[in-house]
């Protein structure tokens, strides 16, 4: 079958330094992958097309790119799954949120820098066991998903926070931080969790689930970030807006059965955060004028007692 690819090209040696799209028509079969198509273009049609690839089996993580606007591995994406029904081309772009070197090749330097920042290695305590380190099987089974990460960068490519702020550690590095923080043999949690609690760490994730959706290996980075938040709070780091928000949310629910929307932003920002409190005033006035203010007196839901009982029962088990 004939397949049309629309590929983003960028040549660092060109004079205008602007990327553009180029179309290619390729003959492929039903079982072909996007990578098969790109390699065929490079070998038979246009030797200047640059891309990274190696194993062709979703193991090496080299060929992450955007296929029809969403990150994925070219080698495990079948043409028939992404070919538009209306005959329009398959759009191929380099991975996002990383600088483009040439065509579909991006610079992974920022990726590695963040990866390194979370110290992605095992840091056991001072006392060494006489034999080998023993880790309970269930702990390692729990970590199997996150250990599957092949560092392809698909999650980083489509992260909606990195799109607006490159100081965020990002889904790949944070998932790896979880992998070591949760390892029973690692004893550096005090320092790890304190670092992850800083700006650019676990609280900056916007929970959009893009990373969960595009990860080709089921690592679920965002879910790991949520578990890290729980660990960070359990370790006593409760003085961030994110922690205050989570704690206030739970407190309102426990005591009244629903949210006090008037007090929630105040408690999340922190009542002594003068700058944020002043920042809330214009919105407060505008909302008041538009008649959109939540009730001043927060009342309990009729089922508040039952909800509180559920909280108490579950919390006593933790």
């Amino acid at each position: 079958m004939e397949v049309i690819f629309k590929v983003q090209r960028f040549d660092p040696e060109s004079t205008d330094l602007v990327s553009h799209f180029q179309e290619y028509n390729v003959q492929l079969t039903d079982s072909s992958t996007v990578l098969d198509g790109l390699i065929k273009i490079r070998e038979e049609d246009d030797g200047t097309l640059s891309l990274r690839c190696s194993c062709r089996a979703a193991i090496c993580g080299s060929c992450a790119m955007r296929i029809n606007g969403e990150a994925g591995l070219a080698c495990n994406t079948k043409i028939i799954d992404v070919m538009p029904q209306d005959g329009s081309p398959i759009v191929i772009e380099p991975a996002g949120n990383l600088p483009v070197i040439k065509d579909l090749i991006v610079d992974f330097q920022p990726f590695w820098a963040k990866f390194k920042a979370v110290e992605p290695w095992l840091q056991p305590g001072d006392i060494q066991p006489e034999g080998e380190y023993i880790a309970p099987e269930e702990d390692m089974v729990h970590l199997a998903g996150v250990v599957s990460c092949i560092l392809c960068g698909a999650c980083v490519s489509d992260c909606t926070v990195l799109e607006v702020d490159d100081s965020f550690l990002g889904p790949a590095a944070l998932a790896k931080a979880y992998r070591f923080s949760r390892d029973p043999r690692d004893e550096s949690d005090d320092q790890r969790l304190a670092q992850l609690n800083e700006p650019g760490g676990v609280w900056d994730c916007t929970r959009c689930m893009k990373c969960v959706e595009v990860c080709p290996k089921g690592v679920d980075p965002m879910d790991r970030i949520m578990l890290l938040r729980e660990k960070v709070m359990d370790a006593g780091h409760n003085n961030t807006s994110g922690a205050r928000h989570a704690n206030a949310f739970a407190k309102f629910l426990k005591n009244s059965g629903w949210l006090d929307e008037l007090k929630l932003p105040v408690m999340s920002f922190g009542i002594f955060n003068i700058k944020a409190m002043i920042g809330l005033i214009p919105l407060g006035i505008k909302s008041q004028l538009a008649g959109k203010r939540p009730p001043i007196f927060h009342h309990k839901l009729s089922s508040a007692k039952e909800i509180k009982k559920i909280f108490e029962k579950v919390e006593s088990k933790k």
Binding site: G69, T160, V161, E163, V164, D165, P199, W203, D204, C205, T206, R207, C208, M209, K210, V212, E213, M226, R229, E230, M233, T240, S241, G242, H245, A246, N247, F249, A250, L253, P265, S268, F269, A276, G279, P282, L283, K286, S287, A290, G291, K292, E306, I307, K309, I310, F311, K313, V314, E315, K318
Partner: protein, 248 residues
């Protein structure tokens, strides 16, 4: 609640589902975030009988039990799937011809696709566009339509949150949108309430009204704008409504 205690969050959702089961009625939401949270909780509850049993043990104190039969559904899906776009078209008394609307799904009604059963119901990825077209308006495509509005980090990182608002609203505006339509009240809150801040951050005017999905449908059904509180938005809908009133 999820980041505080996942089991507790799932138990609270199971309580809602158990109450819905008891009432014998299907469960509808008008909120994308509720949809996402409930679908994911429901997935965890229904795919693991042992987990469900643990949750039910807690609910038993109140005499409740969740049997796993609830399928929470957003109004958008009910319009597009259960009632059908054809049915909607027969009810329209006011075609919104000449207006351009940018669809803003937000995150939780499109991700995670497995819990939301998007593979079984591929139509769900296009439902908002279908409703916009059914009411006679034109769809404005823009890349941010399924990305994050910034609401979840509103208090955590206001600058990032408002940059997201600015990027999406400016993008839609520059592509000719008269208004943005969203099935998510939290997206609405951020895109509407924080648009003035976002405009200040981006150093330009935006002035793009953000309409709730029920308001869009309501306008086409001839429901009075004030009745749907279209006069209570922070980004004024006045211009949009007067154009609508003047249109033939």
């Amino acid at each position: 609640m999820q980041e505080k205690n996942l089991f507790l969050a799932d138990t609270l959702n199971a309580r809602t589902f158990a109450l819905a089961e008891k009432s014998g009625l299907p469960l509808m939401t008008i909120c994308s975030t509720c949809q996402g949270v409930m679908s994911q909780a429901n997935q965890r509850l229904t795919e693991d009988p042992e987990y469900l049993a643990q949750v039910n043990e807690t609910l038993a104190d109140e005499g409740l039990e969740y049997k796993g039969t609830i399928d929470p559904k957003h109004l958008l899906w009910i319009i597009a799937e259960d009632l059908g776009i054809d049915f909607l078209e027969t009810k329209i008394v006011r075609k919104l011809e000449g207006f351009k609307f940018a669809p803003f799904y937000g995150c939780y009604i499109v991700r995670p696709s497995k819990a939301l059963k998007l593979d079984e119901n591929p139509n769900r990825k296009q439902a908002l566009e279908q409703v916009i077209e059914a009411v006679g308006a034109e769809v404005v495509d823009f890349p941010g339509s399924t990305l994050c509005c910034g609401f979840p980090i509103l208090t955590i990182n206001p600058k990032n949150s408002q940059t997201m608002v600015a990027n999406h609203t400016i993008d839609a505006k520059d592509r000719g949108a008269d208004s943005m339509v969203t099935p998510c009240p939290l997206c609405h809150l951020n895109l509407d309430g924080y648009q003035p801040n976002a405009a200040a951050l981006a150093k330009r005017d935006i002035d793009l009204p953000i309409i709730h999905l029920p308001q869009l449908v309501g306008l086409s059904l001839g429901i009075a704008p004030e009745k749907m509180r279209l006069n209570k938005h922070l980004v004024s809908t006045k211009k949009l409504l007067s154009e609508l009133a003047d249109a033939p």
